[in-house]
Amino acid sequence: MEYTILILLLPFLSFLVLGLAGMKMSNRLAGTIGTVVLGIVAVASYYTAFDYFAAGRGADGTFPTLMPYNAVWLPISESLHIDMGILLDPISVMMLVVISTVSLMVHIYSFGYMKGERGFQRYYAFLSLFTMSMLGLVVATNIFQMYLFWELVGVSSYLLIGFYYTKKEAIAASKKAFIVTRFADLGFLVGILFYGYYAGTFTFTPQLQMLASAGAMIPLALGLMFIGGAGKSAMFPLHIWLPDAMEGPTPVSALIHAATMVVAGVYLVARMFPLFIGYAPEVLHWVAYVGAFTAFYAASVACVQSDIKRVLAFSTISQIGFMMVGLGVCTSADPHDGGLGYMAGMFHLFTHAMFKALLFLGAGCIIHAVHSNEMSAMGGLRKYMPVTHITFLIACLAISGIPPFSGFFSKDEILTACFAFSPVMGWVMSFIAAMTAFYMFRLYYGIFWGRENKELHARHVPHEAPLSMTVPLIFLALVTCGAGFIPFGEFISSNGQSYTIHLDSQVAITSVCIAVVAIAVATWMYLRERQPVADQLAKTFKGLHRAAYHRFYIDDIYQFVTHKVIFACVSTPIAWFDRHVVDQFMNFLAWCTNASSEEIRSWQSGNVQQYTRVFLGGVLVLVLVLLLI
């Protein structure tokens, strides 16, 4: 499978070409280069997937782990070295398909969305860079290669969020995204250092006796790595960068901040899953608790936001929480006995990537049409944008967990795994699933039904998006309709053995009922022109509403810590100390030298009388001393 190297090389070449020569190209040419390259990459990824899965299982009933490439990139010591290579196993192949599909759709979509934008070529160059880094991340053969590409996706994300670099909010958002994730990556790095030292390798398959002798260090390393994953995947309390990241162009939000980069943390946990299960099950359960809390927190914030991209951002955070919970509730590697969550989490990652990209791209069409992110500028858009409307509805139904759309199947597996872990977890996640259905339909009605901003729409009639934008929507909608029927367990399961998905009818019926009720409530509250119930609720629970709208003030706490504590109480005093104490001490030494020479200077006056006086005085003193002794 030597051709897999193309999957990484081609986007990198396209980045170099567009980055170096892009300024000289027309927009159309630059976009075409980027898109065609991505098309080839997508075809190569599909072929890889076909090739890999068609080759069949090995003697032990699992798909083999292949490494078509692996070479030492940077030697660290005799036993440790950082390798660069390509690793193919079920989850990495699945991720290749997800990333290249969504990325290709975004490339096509951006033709229409970014048309006429300044920096079009730069945009495509960064998209290529991001795609290369993300693909490199998933095929990493060792944890350090993963970290390396992890940093690269962080930078691509920084560059793309700050794409509109003349906008203040975009600059602040890009900075925030980078620094918050960097802070989390510190945990990741230290985790890797611990892992490298105690496991004696950076690969994912360390020697068992090393692990056994490492004791508590492996759980510590895995926990620290999870901090890095939590930062990228926007887990509470490191989620604050993701809503702000919506300042970037909307297709970027679809690609990076919904479908691919933000699930890197989930992928990391899945990658380390055998170690988590074997050596640190408690840490794994903590992943579940963090995921569950984040899912709840984000869902509650999503219920009151008015900016449609923010709602989607919080919804993303919440859904990633679901994936983390799926992985975290595993108690063994056997999918029939407590290991179902692994498959469920990966399945949800797959389906979520498709329908959330669809939602964001749909949101992009809407923003393109009304030139605003605020729901107040929308309402009643179904008449103007039929394609966007239908595809958006499909995605909303999928995320709410209505059969036969893909989200139902994956979410149902997660809930089944949760109920198997503990009933409390099951009911909590079911409740959050209901919240999901509620806020998604609040959003849906707010955009396409509800209170129409007639004044604005009369002035500027919203129009359906061009073909380059609607085709990706239709494609993703079709995937969303069909993806649920993929026998996912045949390909991916916690121990690699084939696992046949069977719906637990009890859980399925419960979750569908809950979703339907939540949708009904949303319909009752938001469908019509006048929304007395919603307004009344907002008035009654004014404090709660305001707190949720301000995301429970988490951002303000961070603002306080960074500006008031780090900058004002650490950096400024240190800088002052440096200039006024350390440096002044050096100046003081210079001054001392100067002052003492000033003092001594009068002794060298050249005045003979003075010399004689001193000489005589000296003689007298000496004589007195001699006499007295």
Partner: protein, 495 residues
């Protein structure tokens, strides 16, 4: 003729050529010819060195030559290189080459400026090829003195104050150093001041080592911006002209790290073991303290100077970890920091040359006005904060991995503290990038400014390629350095 002596001879010839040249074009001709020759020499040396190693030569130093220089005091002109010095020579040649182009349009007194510039590079090259303690020290001084004039005459801002401060502090350090060197020589009972011989004898009494080690380490450490002796660096950098800042941060500060490793640690391993904890604490402070200070600076050069304190602190920190991985990382960090800081200072100089201000409150929206310089600045920034694919990443990762190999609580704690610098670095780099490059330009004088000229582009592109080259393919240079670090580290580990 030994190839190494050419590194001293070429600058000498350049001095002669400059002295004879009459017009600006002749001066430029001499400089370009000379610095290209040096660069070519350095590249050739790398290949010769690798070839020699590949053919199985395992001597500690290659291309050795020895001439008696002053017999009564046993001072020799002994030269020889290992992988570390080869890497440093390559770095110096690159910086001198790009520095020439960065000062292409320098006015006034162009000839005198380049004379001092050449003398400074002579000192630097001489320092890296020498393995005789006293000759090394002499070249060190040769590199130091021109700095005073270069800053004092061609500098900006409070240039006399800064030049004086820099020179006095570094002179003070060299006084300590001289004492240390003499102590080592007499303590070891060697017949020459050859480093290899002293190391092989390995008989400086422990009590004496405990005196000479701190003196030598601090003496070199001042040049490597060791806390609390770093304060010459912000003022010095801020006042120095562009190419001098480049040479200073890019190469001269490396003399410190190199000397600490090759002289202090290598020759006095017992004292290094005994006293390392003090210096580990100081360097850890340097790393974090420099980074925090950089966060609130308002002058572009001050930001970079404090960032250098932080990064050079990491070099000394790694050296003190006393294992081969961390030491390799230290040398890589020297290379990487040299290249990226030179790039940074070059760009700052070019921006300053246009806007006549370095105050980040007065600069904004430069991306639209001078896209080339702005993109270069972003790349330099990303290298500084350790983006994979650029040089900073490999150096830092090697250092952290190496430091982690000491598994006691003290080393672990300081390593984790040092690791936090990667976050703080991101804070100050992105702060500056966001403030000066992004946004819209509000100063109408700046709107009319032009982008880089060809000579500036050449310097910037050359450095960017070097930074990316080191970052993308680190294995060959990392191997070369690692081999040469081993004898020194095994000497340390003997105890």
């Amino acid at each position: 003729m030994n190839i190494l002596s050419l590194f001293v001879l070429v600058p000498l010839l350049m001095l002669l050529g400059l002295w004879l040249s009459k017009s600006i074009n002749q001066i430029r001709g001499v400089m370009v010819a000379g610095s290209t020759a040096l660069l070519g020499l350095a590249v050739a040396l790398v290949f010769m060195y690798l070839g020699e190693r590949a053919s199985g030569n395992t001597a500690e130093m290659l291309f050795m030559a020895d001439y008696v220089w002053y017999a009564p005091l046993n001072i020799h002109y002994t030269i020889g290189v290992d992988g570390i010095s080869v890497a440093m020579l390559l770095l110096s040649a690159i910086i001198v080459f790009t520095g020439t182009f960065a000062s292409w349009r320098l006015q006034p007194l162009t000839k005198e400026y380049f004379l001092w510039f050449c003398l400074l590079s002579l000192g630097v090259f001489g320092f890296f090829i020498c393995i005789d303690l006293f000759t090394m020290f002499m070249f060190y001084e040769v590199a130091l003195i021109p700095m005073y004039l270069l800053i004092g005459v061609w500098g900006s801002g409070r240039k006399e104050y800064s030049a004086m401060k820099l020179t006095l502090m570094l002179m003070g350090a060299s006084a300590l150093l001289l004492a240390g060197i003499l102590g080592i020589y007499f303590g070891s009972g060697a017949t020459t001041m050859n480093i290899l011989e002293i190391a092989a004898l390995h008989n400086i009494p422990f009590e004496q080592q405990c005196i000479w080690f701190p003196l030598t380490f601090i003496g070199f450490g001042v040049l490597g911006a060791l806390f609390p002796f770093h304060t010459w660096s912000p003022d010095g950098h801020a006042s120095a002209p562009t190419a001098v800042s480049m040479l200073h941060a890019g190469v001269l500060m490396k003399l410190g790290g190199y000397g600490c490793f090759r002289v202090a640690m290598y020759l006095m391993p017992e004292a290094a073991q005994e006293l390392s904890w003090i210096f580990i604490i100081l360097t850890t402070i340097s790393v974090v303290y420099g980074a925090f200070s950089a966060c609130v600076q308002k002058d572009l050069k001050y930001i970079n100077a404090y960032s250098s304190v932080s990064h050079c602190g990491l070099v000394l920190f790694a050296i003190l970890m006393m294992n081969s991985t961390a030491s390799t990382g230290a040398i890589l960090q020297m290379l990487s920091h040299g290249l990226m800081t030179a790039l940074f200072f070059a760009l700052i100089g070019m921006i300053y040359g246009r806007t006549h201000t370095r105050d980040i409150r007065e600069l904004n929206g430069l991306m639209r006005i001078m896209p080339f310089l702005a993109v270069g600045y972003v790349i330099a920034g990303l290298a500084n904060l350790g983006l994979p694919g650029l040089s900073g990443f490999i150096a830092e990762m090697t250092i952290f991995n190496g430091a982690f190999m000491n598994d006691d609580v003290f080393h672990r704690t300081v390593t984790i503290i040092a690791c936090t610098s990667i976050v703080i670095t991101a804070v100050y780099i992105l702060r500056v990038v966001g403030k000066i490059l992004y946004g819209t330009c509000t100063n109408e004088h700046h709107l009319k400014l032009t982008d880089a000229t060809w000579d500036e582009r050449l310097a910037v592109i050359f450095l960017v390629v070097a930074v990316a080259g080191l970052g993308l393919a680190p294995f060959w240079i990392s191997d070369m350095i690692h081999e040469s670090v081993l004898p020194i580290v095994s000497h340390l580990a003997l105890n």
